[in-house]
Symmetry: C2
Subunit: 385 residues, 2 copies
């Protein structure tokens, strides 16, 4: 465990988006320095926050080794770099990477991820690796149509997922996802769920802390809102938290992790997806909890004691502000959002708006979840970005 | 009033220390960019937080004009630049500066500051401009020995202040402070006070918000702790808040301002000092209030609506962590501080520790002020820095 921090300690981020940006703010609070490696040369959110920027390819070990040598600890904000490459970067630079390449290797591929968690006794949604037309047919016949096809690597925010309604569309999607090009494609049954929710867990050598169970409200496979605590019975909240801790332990995780669950109609909780990094479902913790997911992420990867995950108020709603225009980024009509008591606007500093792009979020705190959610939706619906 | 924010909006800070650093974190939260002008070329706290750094002299209009031209709004974190120079920088660059050079001109000189607030009907500590030995004697004879001599410009944290016990020491101090070199020297009576406290006020064209009245605990003219709300009768708290708002209005302030008061033994409240910037007495607002002094500073200078100043909890104690060693900066023994529930460590990123230098602060939140203060002192006393 680390009991001190030098001012010259440098935390390096592979990836320069909003997750790294919000983590960097917490690193700054602890007085340390931030460096960023991006696959773009300029205009990424974290590049505006540090004089220590490097760019190169996420596939180039050499590019990242040089960057890593200048840092004390490296962390990730996405799943775009393979665990093999991360391992090489760590070995050649001598700089530790968290989540560790080993932990990441257990979840980077959706097939291995399912097996990892299943082996740890965590219920997951029914799935199968599909390789042929007959596999596609058999899965639908067994688990019902429609079902989901997922690329086993590289998907996020619904990209890399296809809903298939019959054998014909399944074959099309299989090809689209690269199944004919040696990519592993996973079939996943549609689970008749009543709620989707998420739990964040931070863990390192000093201990493990688990956040409240929050509800994630999805539209078109994109999270549009998060409500915490999730409006479900406490026994389900506790169960999800237990499973989330079990899941982090199963991969010996160090850092912050997010787990998304389904509550099925018959009262079962199934693990749907995991992320070895700060997660959109945990943005509400910035104001909603004593120590946010970003703060505990930074503390965890640095080996510091973890902070309390208790909520500061009884109810929090977080609304994602997705791009409403294709234009140079500008947050418009923010007056009401800023005026609303205990409403907090976070803008990510992306210089280009695109319709549907995650540009910002709005968090509202209060006493009653229903009222807070209604108010947050109303206020944030005015904001154009 | 501003109702939108472009991602390319750039807020420029003249000064690169911890006050600018904590303000910059709030600018980043709103998705805008930060630029910094320092009188040192490297290793200042904000210089680690942006790719947009410039350095030069605080006396050079040209250096600062060039910097200001690249920014949308300029703000200050110290009182080192004269209002005349600020006015020239604003005129030549076309970039607005807040606090405005006009507002600043009404308080930058301690003599004018006293007159400004006295004229606005705000009680101040008894003072007099002293020019000669007979002035020094007369002030002591009238208001009692010892009293204070203050340089009318450039003092902070007790520098530029001298306590004088008799005519001889008064003459020595007068010379030391530059009284023989045409500097304006102010004599100020020692006020028999029971408490010192402070109030922050944020103000712009959208309105005015006032923070709770907090107690400042001083040792050797340096603030060592802040307790909020101040443990004094509510009528005094309200009175101080009223006077603080009156004071900001008297200088037509835009931005955040701090006012330090004495509560005298006979129950009067006297304005002691003012600062046209975020202030050490308001660091507790980061976690203690819904919107911190730094957030409202950024909002105020950008022309955005101001956030709520309500406290999040009943009691907050903030402890200044002054340098305990002369060495490359390192925060040691931080474990207990990080582990304590609702304790928040802020380290400023200065690379060199000096004994007595403001390096960091520790804020503890809770229900009972006395207990919180005791606990905060104990936990933070372990930290070496």
């Amino acid at each position: 465990m680390i009991n001190s921090l030098k001012a010259t300690t440098k935390l390096g981020f592979l990836g320069a988006g909003q997750l790294a940006r919000m983590s960097a703010l917490e690193a700054f609070k602890l007085g340390i320095q931030v460096a960023v490696f991006s696959d773009r040369t300029e205009n990424e959110p974290v590049q505006f926050m540090t004089p220590f920027s490097a760019s190169g390819s996420f596939d180039s070990v050499d590019d990242m080794v040089e960057f890593a040598k200048g840092c004390d600890v490296i962390t990730l904000e996405n799943e775009f770099i393979s665990s093999e490459i991360l391992q090489e970067v760590q070995d050649k630079s001598g700089t530790p990477i968290f989540p560790s390449p080993k932990s990441f290797s257990l979840i980077e591929n959706k097939l291995i991820e399912k097996q990892t968690f299943e082996n740890a006794g965590i219920p997951v949604t029914p799935y199968k690796l599909v390789r042929s037309g007959s596999d596609l047919k058999e899965f639908g016949d067994t688990h019902g149509w429609p079902y989901l096809l997922k690329s086993s690597k590289g998907g996020y925010d619904g990209y890399g997922n296809e809903t298939v309604r019959n054998l014909e569309s399944a074959k099309e999607a299989f090809e689209k996802l690269g199944g004919n090009k040696n990519r592993d494609i996973l079939a996943e049954a549609f689970v008749p769920f009543t709620k989707e929710f998420a739990v964040q867990v931070a863990r390192n050598e000093t201990g493990t802390v688990v956040y409240p169970c929050c509800e994630t409200v999805q539209e078109n496979h994109i999270c549009v809102a998060v409500l915490s605590p999730a409006p479900i019975e406490e026994k389900y909240q506790k169960k999800a938290q237990e499973l989330a801790v079990k899941a982090v332990e199963a991969i010996d995780g160090k850092g912050i992790y997010a787990f998304e669950f389904f509550l099925t109609e018959d009262g079962n909780i199934l693990l749907n997806e995991s992320a070895p990094r700060p997660h959109n479902s945990g943005h509400y913790t910035i104001e909603g909890c004593i120590s946010s997911q970003f703060e505990n992420h930074v503390r965890a990867v640095l080996g510091l004691p973890l902070g309390s995950t208790k909520m500061n108020v009884p109810a929090v709603a977080m609304i994602n502000l997705l791009g409403t225009h294709n234009r140079p980024a500008e947050a418009d009509n923010i007056k009401r959002g800023l005026e609303t008591e205990n409403g907090h606007l976070h803008v990510y500093g992306k210089v280009q708006s695109k319709v549907g792009r995650k540009m910002a979020h709005y968090t509202l705190l209060g006493d009653n979840l229903e009222a807070v959610y209604k108010n947050a939706k109303e206020v944030s619906s005015k904001i154009e970005i």
